[in-house]
């Protein structure tokens, strides 16, 4: 392959272990994908999916998607405002709840006593459990218990966000410069004074930055809450898709794209200013 081998460094010896390693992972990956293909194959119904009917449907639906139907424009705007309100309320609730949770999960705050370690482990486990649930499952439970309303969405967003925010807040608190805390303690400050003058000034900018980042995620999450009746734009999109009102679906999707992009941009700008 190379006419001037003397220019190249000597060829590395073949590493058998690494090769076996590679083979193993490739085989695992291939079998996983093969299992998935085989499992879904009969569900996929290639004949049905790529039938004439689908092509006809695509020919009618896709052009209609771009013929935006503005009949319900003000209703859509109202629902988008509701979506944003759900995300905002939920996110603020979560940000406030996450502050004490962050303190409980920060190792340097809980001390090395037995109680401290147990609290730390307990809250860490709790936050991990909360983070595992998709918001929409939480929303489903709340919709079932308090009825379909934006409030159910707010609760789902709030509880879903505490998991991530609590974890990030805790990690931030763990990086606090402890020498400041010690200095204040040495000067005879009470615990409250240490909290307000040594710890909070160090962590608040990062807290805010994380909260804003989470708000971006929450906006995306709250757009789909309506699918199960927890308020916001999702309800309308399901209804108009069921009515085959594709122009309206197109308009809603466009609105979501614009709003999410604007919020992402604003939040990124604010976060850059903060930190």
């Amino acid at each position: 392959m190379n006419q001037q081998p003397y220019l190249l460094p000597p060829r590395r010896k073949r590493n058998v272990k690494a090769l076996l390693h590679k083979c193993f992972w490739t085989l695992l990956l291939v079998s996983l994908i093969g299992w998935s293909m085989q499992g879904i194959a009969d569900e996929l119904n290639a004949e049905r999916v790529f039938s004439m009917r689908t092509i006809e449907r695509a020919q009618t639906v896709i052009p209609q998607l771009f013929q935006l139907n503005g009949d319900q424009f003000f209703r859509i705007v109202g629902l988008i405002v509701e979506t944003l309100a759900i995300a905002f309320t939920g996110c603020i609730m979560a940000a406030i709840l996450a502050v004490p949770l962050g303190f409980f999960t920060a190792k340097n705050m809980m001390g090395n006593t037995l109680i401290g370690r147990i609290t730390h482990a307990f809250f860490k486990l709790w936050l991990n459990a909360t983070r595992t649930f998709p918001e929409i499952l939480l929303a489903l439970i709340f919709v079932a218990s308090i009825g379909p309303s934006p409030f159910a969405g707010v609760l789902a967003i709030a509880i879903g966000s505490t998991g991530m925010l609590g974890k990030l807040f805790g990690e931030t608190i763990e990086t606090v410069d402890m020498s400041l805390v010690e200095t204040m303690q040495a000067n005879g400050a009470t615990r409250i004074q240490v909290l307000f003058y040594a710890i909070l000034p160090q962590v608040v900018p990062e807290f805010l930055s994380y909260a804003m980042y989470r708000f971006e995620i929450d906006v995306r999450a709250s757009t789909i809450l309506g699918v199960i009746g927890a308020g916001g734009i999702g309800t309308l999109i399901v209804i108009s898709a069921a009515n085959r009102n594709w122009g309206e679906v197109g308009l809603i999707v466009l609105c979501i794209i614009v709003v999410v992009t604007v919020i992402d941009y604003l939040s990124a700008y604010a976060r850059k200013k903060l930190v």
Binding site: I40, N45, P201, G231, V253
Partner: protein, 269 residues
């Protein structure tokens, strides 16, 4: 709301009067916005009264204990959910390679390609997966195909974004070395870019797989296949213990997959 306010006091003179006024304005604005939005969503703190807690408590009481006899009906749908996520991730991993190279500033020298790719990816990521699923169910009918397609598009956006950032962060000297010795674009990508991004590529693919698992759980709500269908059915039948059983199964599967994937990712990087 005001818990964070006490962060303001600092030694006098450290913060200018103007900056302090601005900060106070922002806090008041956020508080006002919170008040407004909590009124708009009817989610004021007054709602957390005895009735609310008794409602939620009753609901949890009805859901508990989860009806584990229902489990045999769960496994096929669970397998379908995982298969959908695997397929979507694999497809996204393949298709993200050209996209992420096009959206990386150091590979795509053409400003036009770079900017179009960037905008395209950003737009792609703004549409939530469930809304994509609604669209595809309308187009292709109810079934797994719509779900896989929705997951694929959704994860393609994320993966290509993450990967393009990785590509932008690679060691430039290797690219230049191959270019200088006469390698064409393809050779540069194959011998200089790929070896550098491969570990991150695997790691991000696993991360996207985790996201896909979570997302595929809910696709069933709109008829795009997967385990969500079971949850919705059982809730509509008011069979809460069975629904809880499905939720518990999802919970443990997600934890398990997250755990395994985290382990592999730690080993990779």
């Amino acid at each position: 709301m005001n818990q964070q306010k006490p962060s303001l006091p600092k030694a006098p003179g450290l913060v200018s009067q103007r900056k302090r006024t601005i900060t106070i304005f922002i806090w008041v604005g956020v508080a006002a916005l919170y008040l407004l939005s909590s009124i708009h969503t009817n989610a004021s703190l007054l709602r957390f009264d005895g009735e609310f807690f008794s409602n939620v408590g009753r609901m949890i009481g009805q859901m508990w204990p989860p009806q584990m006899q229902y489990a045999p009906a769960i496994w096929p749908k669970l397998a379908e959910t995982i298969q959908m996520a695997v397929l979507a991730t694999a497809l996204a991993a393949i298709f993200c390679i050209p996209l992420c190279l096009g959206a990386a500033e150091n590979i795509a020298n053409n400003k036009w390609i770079y900017n179009t790719m960037r905008t395209f990816l950003n737009v792609m990521r703004t549409i939530p997966e469930l809304i994509l699923a609604v669209l595809f169910v309308g187009l292709f009918g109810i079934g797994v195909f719509s779900g896989v397609l929705a997951l694929f598009i959704f994860s393609l956006g994320i993966l290509a974004k993450l990967m393009s950032e990785t590509v932008e962060g690679i060691d430039k000297t290797q690219l230049e070395a191959i270019e200088a010795s006469g390698g064409n674009k393809l050779q540069v990508i194959w011998y200089a870019v790929l070896p550098q991004i491969l570990p991150q590529f695997a790691s991000f693919s696993l991360y996207v797989f985790e996201i896909n698992i979570r997302a595929s759980v809910v696709l069933g709500f709109v008829g795009a296949g997967g385990i969500g269908l079971l949850i919705q059915q059982q809730i509509n039948f008011l069979n809460y213990p069975a629904a809880m059983a499905v939720v518990m199964v999802i919970f443990f599967v997600v934890i398990l997959i997250d755990f395994i994937s985290n382990r592999i990712r730690e080993a990779l990087l």
